[in-house]
């Protein structure tokens, strides 16, 4: 091979490689090294060992953001699996008007998170917003929604004279409002994934079940659910990873400096963002980034291990 032929492949790769190296690999690696440094608006002030991680341990705001993120994930993920699975079950088998429904459900998916957040801020407006108008029209009490710092369990139980505190109070209604929007936005996407998964199950299984006289529930329990498991697993992991990174909804609907009423919608990425770009505390923000990365990496590894080769990606 001539020299020209030998270097040609690298020349083809070069443009993409350059961008990937400078704007992905380098910052990813820097994120790790920066987490061991004191790096702020004045620049680099030397290595500080594990100090940033030590700071995380005693930072109440940080742990609040972790708790809020966990609440968010635990609230959003089950709902954005059950509802889409149900919808996909309804939509399968060439139901008339299927593509019409699919278009409708997919609309929030392609719409920007910012525009959706602006609209839902208005819908949740406590004074004149449509959601409260509907509630009062139905005879209910209007709620503060995005401005409500009280935990939902606290709100539900306080009329009974029970006042749960701390973690037991549950996520604030403000955070729950964000969860509702998040589920609303991702429903169409997960429905499409489930629909594709359902369509991969060969009809012969159902014909056999039918011959055996299996009922609807039995068919679901013994055929659909096990055969759908690769899709279910994929949706579970993807939704979890995406929910862990929620930012735009929080930033727009419960804007800075607060992170919501009493910081109750302050999630990890929002906190990281504030540390990095309001305080320009790059070292500490990087430590939080590494923490976030390790959580997501663990989830990805679990996915690989448990799902093995069964999960299909296309």
């Amino acid at each position: 091979m001539s020299i020209r032929n030998r270097i040609a492949p690298y020349l083809y790769l070069l443009p993409a490689l350059l961008v990937v190296l400078v704007f992905r690999t380098l910052p990813i690696l820097s994120s790790f090294t920066a987490s061991f440094t004191d790096y702020d608006i004045g620049g680099f002030h030397g290595f500080v060992g594990m100090a940033n991680y030590g700071r995380m341990l005693s930072d109440a705001r940080f742990w609040q953001s972790v708790l809020n993120t966990v609440y968010f994930v635990l609230g959003v993920v089950p709902a954005s699996m059950i509802i889409p699975l149900f919808l996909a079950m309804l939509l399968r088998r060439k139901l008339a008007g299927r593509s019409f429904y699919r278009t409708l459900y997919f609309l929030p998916v392609v719409t920007s998170a910012v525009a959706i957040s602006v609209v839902w801020t208005w819908l949740f407006n406590p004074e004149a917003g449509p959601v409260n108008q509907v509630i009062t029209a139905l005879g209910g009490e209007p709620l503060q929604w995005l401005r409500e710092p009280r935990g939902i369990f606290e709100m539900m139980l306080s009329p009974l004279g029970i006042r749960p505190r701390g973690i037991l109070a549950g996520p604030s209604l403000a955070l729950v409002s964000l969860m509702i929007v998040s589920v609303w936005k991702s429903t169409g996407y997960n429905t499409v994934l489930f629909l594709a998964g359902l369509e991969n199950i060969p009809d012969t299984y159902y014909e056999a079940a039918n011959l055996d006289g299996a009922g609807r529930w039995g068919t679901f329990r013994h055929i659909t659910w096990p055969l759908l498991s690769p899709t279910t697993y994929y949706v579970l992991i993807m939704s979890t990873i995406v929910s862990f990174q929620t930012f735009a909804l929080v930033y727009v609907m419960t804007p800075p400096p607060g992170g919501g009423p009493l910081g109750t919608t302050n999630v990890i990425v929002f906190y990281l963002f504030q540390k990095a770009f309001d305080r320009f505390d790059i070292g500490y923000a990087s430590a939080i980034s590494v923490f976030l990365f390790l959580i997501l990496l663990t989830l990805t590894i679990i996915q690989r291990r448990v799902a093995g080769g069964r999960v299909h990606y296309s």
Partner: protein, 262 residues
């Protein structure tokens, strides 16, 4: 399946639930439009458009989306072509290097990216909005998968005819990949158009605001002026909704292939 009474009732039930679900999906959009037309009607749109330079924001988003897309198509086609058709030392290591960056989500490396951009002197420039996104690993991955399906004999025949490698990519490979190219174009366009966190961080001046960032600032400034906010939300979402309606089959398919969400 016979259309007996039971099946009809079942289908009616299904449609009832699906319509209810569809209403929940659609209602926020309807409320958005109806609020935008209250007190002043269409004038709200003109008022929102002129109160802050939304024309500028649109133009910025358009510039960023088009140039990013052009960059992605060039760099990804070249890289995917090398990965798919050429033998060279370090090929799998380099491919792994590309793929490994997909495992790390954007927020994780946002802060160091800012430092790198400021060292380059790119903060608050179009460069910062465009250049870092002119390579897209997932696009490389998808194109490579497709390029590999093109028979090698075609290549050998073309080379015998004196066709160069680059010419072969341009004249044979890319025309045979129209479908996958449209797919990657669609999700890159949607990704650029809706991108928010990055432009929020790397630009400061109003002249460089993209649509999403402009809308977010507008939301903070006009927090009680809901007619104007809904008008701005409406005209901000219309272009993508039109794109979606025009190409919905492909968009739905490309989303389910890519696993992208924001």
């Amino acid at each position: 399946m016979a259309l007996d009474g039971r099946t009809l009732a079942l289908n009616a039930g299904k449609h009832l639930m699906l319509i209810l679900g569809g209403a929940i999906m659609l209602l926020p959009f309807l409320w958005m439009v109806s609020t935008s037309l209250q007190q002043g009607g269409f004038d709200n749109y003109i008022e929102a458009w002129t109160r802050v330079p939304f024309g500028r924001y649109f133009l910025n988003t358009l510039i960023v989306t088009v140039l990013t897309l052009a960059g992605v198509l060039v760099t990804s086609s070249l890289a995917a072509y090398a990965f798919a058709t050429m033998e060279f030392p370090g090929r799998s290591a380099l491919f792994l290097l590309f793929l490994s960056t997909m495992m790390v989500p954007q927020p994780v490396y946002l802060a160091p990216s800012y430092v790198i951009l400021s060292k380059l002197g790119w903060i608050n420039t179009y460069m910062a909005l465009i250049v870092p996104w002119t390579a897209n690993v997932f696009t490389v991955f998808l194109l490579r998968q497709h390029f590999r399906t093109i028979p090698k004999t075609l290549y050998e025949a073309a080379i015998l005819d004196g066709c160069g490698r680059l010419r072969y990519l341009w004249k044979v490979v890319l025309p045979l990949s129209k479908s996958v190219l449209v797919t990657v174009m669609l999700f890159n366009i949607i990704g650029s158009w809706n991108s928010f966190m990055w432009p929020l961080v790397v630009t400061h001046s109003e002249e460089l605001r993209v649509l999403q960032v402009g809308l977010s600032y507008f939301n903070q400034e006009q927090s009680s002026n809901y007619q104007l906010l809904m008008a701005a939300s409406t005209f901000s979402t219309i272009p993508l909704i039109l794109l979606f309606l025009a190409a919905q089959k492909r968009i739905v398919a490309s989303y389910s292939r890519s696993g992208i969400k924001d």
